[in-house]
Symmetry: D2
Subunit: 376 residues, 4 copies
Amino acid sequence: MTVTVTKSHIVVAQNASGRNMNVPVYRLTAGRPGPKVYIQSSIHGAEVQGNVVIYHLLQKLKHLAVYGEVILVPNCNPIGTNIKAGEYTLGRFDPVNGTNWNRGYFYDEARVLDFASTVKPGTSVEQIKTRFRAYWREAIEQKLASPLGLGLAQQLNLQLQRLAVDADYVLDLHNGPVSARHIYIPENARSAAYCFNIEHCIFIPNVFAGALDEATFCPWWTLQSALEESFEHPPSFGIEAMTLEMGSQEVVKFDEGEQDAISILTYLNQRGVLNENHFQPKPMRRVGVELTNYKTLYTDFGGMVEYCAQPGSAVNKGEPLARVLNIDELDNDAATFTVTAPCDVIPILHFPSASVLSGTQLYKVFTQYYTLTENQ
Amino acid sequence: MTVTVTKSHIVVAQNASGRNMNVPVYRLTAGRPGPKVYIQSSIHGAEVQGNVVIYHLLQKLKHLAVYGEVILVPNCNPIGTNIKAGEYTLGRFDPVNGTNWNRGYFYDEARVLDFASTVKPGTSVEQIKTRFRAYWREAIEQKLASPLGLGLAQQLNLQLQRLAVDADYVLDLHNGPVSARHIYIPENARSAAYCFNIEHCIFIPNVFAGALDEATFCPWWTLQSALEESFEHPPSFGIEAMTLEMGSQEVVKFDEGEQDAISILTYLNQRGVLNENHFQPKPMRRVGVELTNYKTLYTDFGGMVEYCAQPGSAVNKGEPLARVLNIDELDNDAATFTVTAPCDVIPILHFPSASVLSGTQLYKVFTQYYTLTENQ
Amino acid sequence: MTVTVTKSHIVVAQNASGRNMNVPVYRLTAGRPGPKVYIQSSIHGAEVQGNVVIYHLLQKLKHLAVYGEVILVPNCNPIGTNIKAGEYTLGRFDPVNGTNWNRGYFYDEARVLDFASTVKPGTSVEQIKTRFRAYWREAIEQKLASPLGLGLAQQLNLQLQRLAVDADYVLDLHNGPVSARHIYIPENARSAAYCFNIEHCIFIPNVFAGALDEATFCPWWTLQSALEESFEHPPSFGIEAMTLEMGSQEVVKFDEGEQDAISILTYLNQRGVLNENHFQPKPMRRVGVELTNYKTLYTDFGGMVEYCAQPGSAVNKGEPLARVLNIDELDNDAATFTVTAPCDVIPILHFPSASVLSGTQLYKVFTQYYTLTENQ
Amino acid sequence: MTVTVTKSHIVVAQNASGRNMNVPVYRLTAGRPGPKVYIQSSIHGAEVQGNVVIYHLLQKLKHLAVYGEVILVPNCNPIGTNIKAGEYTLGRFDPVNGTNWNRGYFYDEARVLDFASTVKPGTSVEQIKTRFRAYWREAIEQKLASPLGLGLAQQLNLQLQRLAVDADYVLDLHNGPVSARHIYIPENARSAAYCFNIEHCIFIPNVFAGALDEATFCPWWTLQSALEESFEHPPSFGIEAMTLEMGSQEVVKFDEGEQDAISILTYLNQRGVLNENHFQPKPMRRVGVELTNYKTLYTDFGGMVEYCAQPGSAVNKGEPLARVLNIDELDNDAATFTVTAPCDVIPILHFPSASVLSGTQLYKVFTQYYTLTENQ
């Protein structure tokens, strides 16, 4: 059985010329039963490396024995990819109104609880999953059909979410500004941390803030919690959704993308999408942090900054993070000053420009982090 | 007793050159006891007409018998005012991250309820107000002093909010894109609708979405509700906060600004800041709508648009709102089409550019609106 | 003989998603011999009204007896039309590098003179025209095929210019920021001023600054001048090219576009493209100015501005053009000041935002203008 | 004799709030006679590393025996430094109109020739220099005083140029997008190539294209040429002006800035501003190219790009420069393609974003370059 790759395009928007903006959708299957996987990249337009990861995934998957189906959606935001402001891509938000392209997915806790109240004890997990998927797709489609319309980001998000609604495993490929690789993992799927070759892992709670990973796992997690009372043996739906941050934005690296693809295949191998001996997680240090301890360090000054800390390398309390130049005081001791770590941290990413206003996200850092060990 | 005008400047940010960005604060008092008023303008940088309104307010107030104190803060966002993108001002959101400049004010319902639980029955309204203001200022200052810093918009918002924390009447002067004048009024202060000379009034509930008016009235409203059970005669704090939309952005009109200033003085006259016979509300039609019925009409198409409806003028269901050109179909019947009103509406504002992508806020409209009559 | 409308699309660019960006081209002919006409619109992306004019031209032309061929190219810049920065369209220049979209057309005086040196006395005007067109097309195509490539704006311009190279009459439809209608007419075709229904006419010399009108008339005008010595009866090529400024950018008005279309048909009627009695120039005041007297008034201040003068209406020396608010001096006499006309002027357009930095083009004005009379 | 550092600020613009935008000017002298030096940085707002170089220059110069005077002007464009568009600085051009901040300096060949015609044979070089400087300053000031005003970029440029008009040595510190260090040297001062520690040298002719280096050397070079006929021993004015490209934009590196400062001090040491044994040019490979052979490679495609070539490292004809991903063709052989060098090149800089439209400046490269040897 060989893998079949089916390509289609979906229209997600129209531009000001009235032309359709479309997104490529690649579906891979070998006709074997198995889980469904949905992977998209570049919902933030400047975060392009995920497209290369998807390229390598597709090249490799088509020669592997795939179980179930894998849907790959590269370059999923054709608007955000194409707004230039100077040489860079203004890709994080809608240039018209500032809406983050990654905050308009659908979730409605009340609807999950409504559904939960209709589930009769004794229903099989598979029956529940089938019914809930239909129910949730219907909810997304109702939202999409809002009689007075929807904003562009939300329209885009919902159309992508509809593609992902049947998936068991959803991966949303992002990049940080200048960034080490890291991954957001729902707390109820902590074991996934050991399935990728990614050192830095952030564990997030069952809280919806608008992103695709949350929009995917929150309904199932909430449903599971709601059913725990009425079920003797609590059902486990096994739906996982994660955001993978594949290094820095504005950068394409084919070699690194191949390693990232292998990392993802390793995860899929653990989840039964593949059955290959050689895709095993690398023995490596893995570091965890709870979302609440993943902190942003804002500047209280404006100025020109050297980023002294390397993303991914620990910095102890009091050690330098940044050195700042004050162009109006070059003739005295205030010409430069140093920003130091307020506690022991691992800087994960920093602002991509040396010029910062006050209130800039200088660094995002792990605090109170810990080494992950599998028997934990 | 003559009015004294005291001018100061507060620093609200530093730019990338390390220079302080400051905001002018004008304080007017004649030494008479009375309420406190806080009025700011241009938190959205392209919405400049409020600055002209404040200019006229200051010119007029300095010749009037002012009771209490009036604080006027024009051009309160020196960052947003100065980001150009093409000829226009990119004033609604932080160009770095898309954060709306008007969504970072402070509110925390739990803190209000904590405070409420400390209020002993029998405490006078004035005592509660004094204590609560101190308590709330402290909360704002704690937030401002966050050990890892805050984003720029939030820093700016909190510094302005601190100036407004003692005020009884808070007015935040805005503009729409292409817009008729309208006003957001908290439902618990509906009578204010009759105190301005503004035709279109939106009544909003006790819900915090980040803006200054909400950040001002939500604490007091919530406190009042919380105390209603423990007080025989429920306290009335009389704090009012409103957002006034003074026509269209990117436009300065001195004459219209004078009329707007008179409208605001009329309101202040009703509230005891002035005691002048001639500042009486104009007899005029006033139209109300609940916030939930103030609707956005989004496009489901991209293209080039003529706005056929005039902001402020009623459009019946089925009548044209916009005519759209399709440049790829000029040789057939699809060359143009018409967007019609989905129900009876008053268009209040429309998008300021003829070029729209799908998902654009074409119009915001009153639906299920009604004429306001004072005995209602 | 009825008019045939042939639609095609040409690819002028690829976006960052790798998708082709194309431009619609409508060709109208009734099979009658006659001149060639080329009309394009929206090379500056926010100047959209010309698209409506082309819509009306097409609707009308298809019912008229057309002589020769009319090529209509609406929305000729699919990149510039689709760069939003805030709600407005960043349409005047390439957002990557600031290149004005209207400055990359081809002209090379030396090549014209080279050609002129090959023309033998006695060659007929038609022969010269045919040979020169082939020669000039070849030059444009060589440029387009530059071995190391070309910048985006230049690629776009040259592809459009290639469409226009055979035309006898070339009209480039633009808009000003906030603007009265006006037209740029080459000095050697002054009589065209009486063929449109446009009040304000700017006469320009045989100087190339990069725009399509100049790129069209400069070669012929230069060729004609060069041949004047060797020809007893100097040849007259009759090629005309003009930039028409159809009011304000960011605005679509179908009714006004119909009037503009009639104005253009009136011109085409005088030039033999039509033969219709009812397309006659309106009797109206027409005002002329030499390009050198079409002046830009820059600000030497930054601030917030009311534009007191109406585009198209005369302002005498010393009368107010703008009133400026100074938000830091509201408490003293420097709160406002007035900018007055430095001489008698007709303001033709003004900056579209009330917020200006120092060095802003506040107004462009006619100075030393005069009423045009046909016997002049 | 110790070095005195005098700091002042000049106002170069007003922002839309009406506030003055100023530029720091540091003047260093020890009271010894000697040449005048003018060094500025960051006329392009995102090119910030030059500010660090000036910081190090100032720290070092204040401990050295300075001959003459050194004027240091860091952060010379307070507007361009502070326009953010997304996280990056939109620093190369005025966001209002696209005008490159580095193209509005003054030069007028006719005025130089006018002056030359007034120089009597036998006048000493010093007399000519003194008179010409006064003459040229007057010309700049006349331009600055244009009765109808000037555009912002030009106002800024002329005010800086006025500071530099007396200087013998003018250095304008820039950065490329992602760039190796390189330097623009006028052909008539080729020997300067051996005075810095910069490997890549571009030799430019006596042609004015708007930048400060050209605006500085063109007048003197032209004057010298004009006087060559009338002078038996042609005068040599020894005025040098260069643009130094100090690596990549958006980056601050203190350590590298110190090396750059040493490189500049080495040059100044050769020119008599210092008299220090230890500032000697490093023995190193130096590579030269004529400006006409410094080529831009534009893309003829849009897509996502990996830059395979390292700025500063030679690439032979046919070797890869870039690898391009085509997100719509991941399922076939067109998924990627390679852009190769059209001839032997040294890539000096490349575009800073992986996302490119067609017509993007992918690389700027040396072609037909050669190793510089001092006896050449």
